[in-house]
Symmetry: D2
Subunit: 258 residues, 4 copies
């Protein structure tokens, strides 16, 4: 067995069953987890086993998987809306975010996008995520810690319109209802040539934000949305699935110039 594929204490495991029932479990000594198909399982037994192995339970069988960022995002504990993996992945690539980048996030929310950004900038970059809440956004901190990404995230508290102490960001992501209120201060914090992304669900928001960005001299102000359509691929009966999520967020991109 490849050592990097061995399950250790502290690892996150995605326990996967047919029919897409899954559990995201932190491996700890003495822990037991309740499942849908029989008696609770002893997590102890998984330590030393390999990712990808089968687990037999009372009324079924599952697999011990290493969670992908999609799993972490979809399983994040949250009190608010969700950023979808398709949107997070695309904005990272398009905004020029990669290992070593210094990224600004305005609107921490439940931290699902924060996790995706943190994984993208590791091991040499950092995400500075700002939220208005006086207490740290507890769900976000918990989600980032559980994913083992806390070294790459700095949680900050800050009110709308206040200057951003950090400067020279390679990219900025705004996930707040009124992003136009932050355009001027975010511009100050971005390197010339850096990209800004705003995620908003309504046309009214993207229209207002696009105009604010143009007014502040940003270039290439460009908006799009991604639709994810599931397909059933089965012998002789391949077709699109009958229902889908048809709207998440519009993604608005722009570039700060010197």
């Amino acid at each position: 067995m490849n050592p990097s594929n061995q399950i250790k204490e502290g690892d996150l495991v995605l326990l996967w069953f047919e029919n897409e029932v899954t559990y995201l479990i932190e491996v700890a000594r003495g822990k037991r987890v309740g499942i849908h198909c029989g008696k609770p399982l002893a997590v102890d037994d998984w330590i030393g086993r390999e990712f990808g192995e089968k687990v037999i339970c009372e009324h079924g069988e599952g697999y011990l998987l290493k969670p992908s960022m999609e799993d972490l995002m979809m399983k994040a504990s949250r009190e608010s809306g969700i950023i979808y993996p398709k949107d997070a992945a695309y904005l990272i690539l398009r905004a020029g975010i990669h290992s070593g980048s210094k990224v600004l996030e305005i609107g921490t929310g439940s931290g699902s996008l924060t996790m995706a950004l943190a994984l993208a900038v590791a091991p040499n970059g950092k995400v500075f995520t700002y939220d208005r809440r006086m207490d740290l956004p507890q769900n976000a901190v918990r989600n980032v810690n559980r994913a083992g990404l806390s070294d790459y995230v700095s949680f900050q508290q800050r009110q709308t319109g206040e200057p951003i102490p950090e400067k020279n960001f390679d990219a900025a992501i705004l996930d707040i209802p009124q992003p136009w209120e932050e355009v001027a201060v975010v511009k100050e914090a971005l390197k010339p040539g850096a990209r800004l992304v705003s995620l908003n669900p309504t046309f009214n928001q993207i229209e207002k934000m696009a105009e604010a960005l143009r007014h502040e001299g940003f270039i290439e102000v460009d908006c799009m949305e991604l639709l994810q359509r599931p397909i059933l691929a089965r012998e002789g009966k391949t077709r699109p699935v009958q229902r889908m999520v048809s709207h998440t967020e519009f993604l608005l991109f722009a570039i700060r110039v010197a």
Copy 2:
């Protein structure tokens, strides 16, 4: 000026003009570049300037930008079809690829996906990309080198069905017309629990590949497509753009188990 934002010899610059006219230029001493709006520009003049700065040319003005992975992919020199940024970004996130991953790519093509994978695994991971062509795929090598990503890519030549010398891959991407011919050997090369992704444009291919994956014992065989819809966000006149790319590739995901 932040030193990391200063243009140096050897840097790649995206010269950006209004109306989405762009040029991807490697900075070199004595180089001149022809443009659409007037006399050629002396690239020498850009050395020491900052990304994000304005360039005045005879009949217009442009900006010196740091290309994002989207720019590198869309500007890749190529002899064949293209992998779109939306597809590359999503498969990276969902297949669990990140800094440090060891990734297998079957079907190098023009290397546009290879670049996105290389950036995702840097600085500690590696992409092993295999192609059937007896010569190295020259466009791909050129694109990867130009992007400064050659440290993270190993180009290999190999015929369909031959064993893959490297083992213990964290993920595998197949971008070939008959991926079902490679399922057995790719399975051998993947760690248990690792994800496989196949990109194919037709339903016939994804149906046949999905059945081959199920037959080889892969789990969570799941297919989807991403549609990218551009939106014009302008004051009082916001609407979807009238034409769009409506099909690129279907993405088929699966997980190898022990």
Copy 3:
């Protein structure tokens, strides 16, 4: 009041409430209808009133509306899948069906498409609808009668591959799982220049049917699908609805030539 807008015995009324709760009711003397918001209503009271008027019930208020074909289709009693109004409407227009047309339908189902075809050919045309079931398809007969369209429909019983006694059809619609088995006999029944439409949910079916049509000499074999995306239009908060039906049927069109 315009007499044509007065509610009479035998009329169909769509009783409409806020929150899209609706009831499709045939007006009859002495009838009472149970509703979700209070005591049953006496239908007698509606006779002589006008379409569009308000009805007060115990815990709310509704409106007496004339059902559109969309309402009739979505409220059709049925034992099987549904043809969506978007698909029915488009195929009627594109297949050249209009008042006076003689239309062949293979696969009566629950009669929802039959109703749309009947309304389109009225008052001088006719729909001949064939089903394999030995008994008349009771739901379809009931739906067509209730909609007041029985003068324009002839229900027929017939097994796959049997000749079609009627000839000189202006258009043919196939809504059956294996339409390729009927191409030769349907061709015989169509006028030269007439259009054929096949509705099928899987790619496998449309591919096989497209090849069968080409093989029988049909021209302009052309396939598409329609996606209906709901939009929430509200002041300051306009956006696409978050979930939608993403797949109903593929529509395959072709033209019989001489």
Copy 4:
């Protein structure tokens, strides 16, 4: 040959060639038509032949087809934007328009929607179409006449906000840039229970119109869009076409109550 399928003087013929090259031609004595594949054709020769028959020309062969409403709409001569068949077909069905209906159209444009409405209400209904232009909209009149539908259309000239002399309409369609300016007068002209449809390309327009309709007491104010995605159905290579029209109009529906 079925007499109704015989080509006569005055008929409209769609001359169809492979590769989707088509010509819409009115049959007249002595007429010759230039085509893309060789010498002009003598239309005289078609009289007495049957729809669906083959025509041999110098460098190819074509077919003589009866145009569907889709053909008439896509081939309409026009000076402005186009209403797409998918949108026209669906709004007719959903607005309760059928043979015998009395329909109001505000914004005649090039008459492509007018034709579809006229065919839907024939032979006992009528479309009253209003335009602001002081001259009759010549393209629209020509298109409607050529389609043989002039008995079912009354062209009217009228300025925004002026009362509509006709009353008791079964349905109203607004295809104008500022439909909210007409809500009050259109409401007066509609029967209680009748449906109104507004077609507009921007979110700003549908949002403003939706609010105006709610303000005037319309119920079931509901918006959607239809996306038409072409599919290539070919043996072993079936897939969506790579480019599509991604936006035409938003359709906004509402019901006038008493």
